[in-house]
């Protein structure tokens, strides 16, 4: 396990808490998918959610930007605070929340529009650009941040769906960061990508940490070890263990965590 953690990420001493979840329960109809999850996610940090399939890590992730609202049978209880504001408060409009909490999905899902329009869509609907020049600048900045600008700058009018899988995922990341979110949620962003594209996206995640709080769900423990500073291990809807990444991988407290990272369950 040691060799996986090739970067020793020093935790900065004073971390601000960005997201704070208390006693979160999620039900899908009669299924109790998330049980009593308490977690504090730091600002400007990459937090990884790991765990076997169906353990609820993606479900919990989707609670943070209320994407579960789109599923009719899903019901969320408990409190999730972002900057000390309850995002499930009746006064919160999920649409406004999602501008603040961006999301990148498991499968690259660019709009069937041009590369430019893909990135410009968010800023346009949120009115972030006053004119075309500003919009151009946002598009260029987002694509550069997503390490895609050099590859696509000559064909911004080409369809986003015509890019390769890795490029599409980076386009989706560019699209997510174009609306200047404060939190970026990533649901297994590399599961459909080859190792080279994965490495590019991982480098990107590390860079995004400068500006956002990044929460990433991943099936790959190596990936969690490579990119994250803190790791949460979910099992059967419970948050089993949550600690600094190197601690989870080298000295897990819970026997279930140990079994999982050593490959005995999951």
């Amino acid at each position: 396990m040691e060799d996986m953690i090739h970067v020793d990420r020093a935790m900065s001493t004073q971390q601000d808490i960005k997201i704070s979840a208390r006693k979160v329960q999620v039900y899908y109809g009669d299924t109790h998918a998330i049980k009593d999850v308490d977690v504090d996610i730091d600002d400007k940090t990459v937090t990884a959610f790991i765990g076997p399939s169906g353990c609820g890590k993606s479900t919990f992730l989707r609670c943070i930007n209320r994407m579960n609202d789109t599923i009719d049978v899903a019901r969320v209880e408990g409190d999730i605070l972002i900057d000390n504001e309850d995002i499930y408060d009746a006064k919160v409009d999920p649409v406004q929340l999602r501008a603040k909490v961006g999301m990148v999905f498991q499968k690259p899902n660019p709009f069937p529009k041009s590369i430019y329009d893909n990135v410009a869509y968010g800023p346009k609907i949120h009115g972030l650009a006053r004119n075309k020049a500003e919009l151009d600048e946002i598009v260029e900045r987002s694509l550069s941040k997503a390490a895609l600008w050099d590859e696509v700058k000559d064909r911004l009018d080409a369809p986003g769906t015509g890019l390769s899988g890795g490029q599409q995922q980076r386009l989706c990341i560019a699209r997510a960061i174009a609306t200047a979110p404060e939190v970026l949620l990533m649901d297994e962003p590399c599961s459909a990508l080859d190792p080279i594209a994965t490495a590019q996206v991982e480098d990107l995640i590390d860079e995004l940490r400068q500006s956002f709080s990044v929460v990433i769900v991943t099936h790959s423990m190596q990936q969690a070890a490579r990119v994250s500073q803190k790791t949460a291990f979910f099992h059967l809807g419970n948050l089993v263990e949550y600690d600094a990444t190197d601690k989870i991988f080298t000295n897990p407290q819970d026997p279930r965590t140990e079994s999982y990272i050593s490959g005995r369950i999951g």
Binding site: N65, M67, T70, D72, V95, Q96, R98, A99, G102, M103, V104, F105, K107, N109, P110, F111, P112, Y121, G122, I125, H126, P159, T161, G162, C172, R175, A176, A178, T179
Partner: protein
């Protein structure tokens, strides 16, 4: 190959465990035979279908093509100034022209050595009101007096059928329309070589006639009637249908009530169209007092009938848009409506358009509801003279016109009915082609 087969037994000492790949196992043979049989069934089914289609197309064309042509009598005729002045001075002017025409034609026959006696009544039975037509022509073109003029006179439908061999002398009973002696004149005309055929534009552009004049009947007015009905159907059912589908599919809460609506929409699509007809009669004509036989009422009834088709196809195409697109839009903070209108609807457009055009095509060919609101049987003798008149004045529609013709006792109308079917099929084909083109065009926008 020889190497492989010769070495196979050596390499496989126990055939039960190591069967050669080069020979089919009994089980494989069975499976392949089943597949071959299944393909055969498919080929047979398609062949039967094609045979029916070919037979249908053949009989429609065979029976319908004659409706587009018309038997004409070509006569070269010269009217002198004296004859003109003489005829104009008479009391019965058109009769005078007819007599002049009879004289002229008889003289032409005699030049060719053909002798036949006939009078103005015969000519009227064979060629219609020639005298009146001649008078109108010469009064409008006085410079043609004294010049030889080529006249092309449409023959009565009975003459046409006599020439086709479908009417024999002993079938002629009603002397009002045709006498047996008239057929002698026709025989002489054939000998003189003046009978030909011409394309009948009147069939396409003309209006319907009464039961006694099959030759002059045209489908034009009912095409206009159908056009106005389709206009009403399109303008009402497309926006209502698409809006209803978007609401039900994307916004409506999923509960017992919306389930009930959904089941009812599916059932409505299967309701016999005559039910919509009687509904239209009760609601639009008896309750709302809209005019009978009006394309507006027809369009409203057909809208009711088309709506379920459009709703179902629109919902299906909305459903087929991958949910990842909705997630993507919501994920960047689009509102539900923005997600639907910016991303889902454009992708669903080809399906919506196809469904709409198929619904329209279905409505175009629908006859049963029109029976009940009085469009079948209405003799569309006039063209509407504008939008309001087109919507509110009584008119017929293509399928209703075909039905009316097929129901008339005079056999000559059958051919008109077949011809009408050809026109209707051309319209349906055009609509389907438009559907395909639109689908291609929208799909190209990835």
């Amino acid at each position: 190959m020889t190497d492989a087969t010769s070495s196979a037994p050596a390499a496989a000492p126990s055939p039960a465990q190591h069967a050669s790949l080069l020979s089919e196992s009994p089980r494989m043979k069975k499976r392949n035979a089943a597949e071959t049989r299944f393909k055969m069934y498919g080929v047979i089914a398609i062949s039967i279908g094609l045979a029916f289609l070919v037979f249908l197309a053949y009989s429609i064309l065979r029976n319908g093509i004659p409706a587009f042509t018309q038997t004409v009598v070509n006569v070269e005729f010269t009217l002198t100034q004296e004859q003109f002045d003489d005829a104009e001075s008479k009391l019965l002017k058109t009769a005078a022209y007819t007599d002049i025409f009879v004289e002229g034609v008889t003289a032409q026959f005699q030049e060719k050595g053909l002798n036949v006696e006939f009078d103005g009544d015969t000519i009227e039975r064979l060629l219609g009101k020639v005298g009146g037509d001649l008078r109108t022509f010469y009064r409008e073109n006085p410079d043609q007096i004294g010049q030889p003029v080529q006249l092309q006179l449409p023959a009565a439908s009975r003459v046409e059928r006599y020439l086709q061999g479908r009417l024999t002398r002993d079938m002629v009973v009603d002397g009002r329309f045709l006498e047996v002696a008239d057929l002698d004149v026709v025989d002489v005309m054939v000998d003189a070589g003046i009978i030909g055929s011409a394309f009948d534009w009147n069939f396409i552009t003309g209006t319907d006639t009464g039961v006694d004049n099959p030759g002059g009947a045209g489908i034009g007015a009912s095409v206009i009637g159908s056009f106005f009905m389709m206009l009403v159907v399109l303008l009402l059912s497309l926006p209502i249908g698409v809006a209803a589908s978007i609401y039900l599919e994307e916004f409506a809460p999923k509960n017992k009530f919306t389930d009930l609506i959904e089941v009812n929409i599916s059932n409505l699509a299967a309701v016999p169209s005559i039910v919509f007809g009687i509904l239209g009669l009760a609601v639009f004509i008896q309750f709302a007092h809209l005019p009978q036989s009006a394309p507006l009422v027809g369009g409203l009834v057909l809208t009711l009938m088309t709506l379920p088709t459009i709703v179902i196809s629109t919902r299906a195409s909305l459903k087929s848009v991958p949910p990842s697109i909705r997630d993507a839009a919501l994920g960047v903070g689009a509102s539900k409506m923005q997600a639907v209108f910016h991303h889902v609807l454009p992708l669903a457009m080809p399906g919506i358009l196809t469904g709409t055009i198929i619904g329209l095509a279905q409505a175009l060919g629908e006859t049963a509801p029109l029976l009940l609101i009085g469009m079948v049987g209405y003799v569309a003798r006039e063209y509407p003279d504008g939008l309001t008149s087109g919507l509110l004045d009584p008119n017929s529609a293509m399928p209703a016109q075909i039905y009316t013709w097929a129901a008339r006792s005079d056999e000559a109308f059958f051919e008109k009915a077949w011809g009408g079917i050809i026109i209707l099929l051309i319209f349906l084909l055009t609509m389907n082609i438009i559907a395909i083109i639109l689908r291609r065009r929208f799909e190209r926008r990835w």
